[in-house]
Symmetry: C2
Subunit: 202 residues, 2 copies
């Protein structure tokens, strides 16, 4: 089976987004991350920065603080989720693509032409990356990382009823600290090539 | 860094043991699974069948039922665990090897020349494999699988304080239903080759 869709889930600071972008370039696939956010923002009428902040973070803040702030009976975040979900399903129909985060592995779990990758890394590399590459300003990178992972885990559990980072959800998971960014891209490309050459698989 | 040690953790019915054995043959590495059990059995004086049954299953049965049945103040299972741990550390010193299960990923987590693989598969393939290849007699394979996974998860958590099947514990995880047994072997070999050729990694 030819693989048309790759979802990349990633720990904060693992370099997963960079890996996804490099893969998209090498494969000539569309790449959806900020683009996806922009599309979602456009449709919901929310500001792009709001979507970026809340698209992978579930909290009951809005429903508690502003109980009347609902859309068709949904909280702001549930509405945003349902829009993102629709957009992800549509993008996957449009042609070969790579989608980063936003529970895309779950949303596209039934696509036979998709593989789902999870990128993780060791804590020291992650801390180094968020400070020196992402430009995060913090005196406690470990805390910033733990906080972001917690948000992603909570959001994922709320919307999918599955555990974020549990091997069963992903076709493959990789430690980018072991393989490096280029190496991780090479390993994933090798898998795509293998599956393309072995249509009896998947 | 040249990879001398590969630990393979696996869901029951995922074919992980077969993958480990094939890898060992291709790489010319020692393979430890039943051999390990036999060695542990020899040292502890337990019957081999007892070690096989209890080596990856933690229960408080012995300590509750026979509170006096302890070894140097340890329960039978804790004693067995400590012996298995020692044996795994020793085997890893003896030369290149592949070790299946028994928390070997955790026990050898500080070896820089080791990679840790987790093999999983979809439920239908696992059910089919335990009935038709492992010869498990059951009218409810899903239940048998859930039970065995639960034992491995509980044992792993008890002895390592980590979650069995959480991506962070493993260098790589693979879905053998997607890649097949031969394909999974090929993907792992490719990773070993890559790391051998890129000594700057690991």
């Amino acid at each position: 089976m030819s693989i048309n869709i790759i979802t990349i889930s990633r720990e904060f600071g693992s370099g997963g987004r960079t890996i996804a972008q490099m893969l998209a370039e090498k494969l000539g696939y569309a790449f959806y991350d900020k683009e996806l956010i922009a599309k979602a923002a456009e449709r919901t009428g929310f500001a792009e920065s709001f979507v970026q902040e809340h698209g992978e973070k579930h909290s009951s803040f809005f429903s508690i603080t502003y109980p009347s702030m609902t859309f068709n009976g949904m909280t702001t975040e549930d509405y945003l989720w349902s829009m993102q979900r629709k957009i992800i399903l549509e993008l996957a129909e449009e042609g070969p693509c790579i989608i980063v985060g936003r529970c895309s592995d779950y949303i596209l779990k039934d696509r036979k032409d998709a593989i789902h990758v999870f990128v993780h890394a060791d804590p020291a590399d992650r801390a180094d990356r968020i400070i020196n590459q992402y430009g995060v300003k913090t005196s406690d990178p470990a805390k910033a990382i733990a906080e972001e992972d917690k948000n992603r885990r909570k959001n994922y559990r709320y919307y999918t009823d599955r555990e974020w980072g549990a091997v069963d959800n992903y076709t493959v998971s990789l430690d980018s600290s072991v393989f490096g960014i280029d190496g991780s891209v090479e390993m994933i490309l090798n898998m795509i090539r293998f599956l393309d050459e072995h249509p009896e698989q998947v």
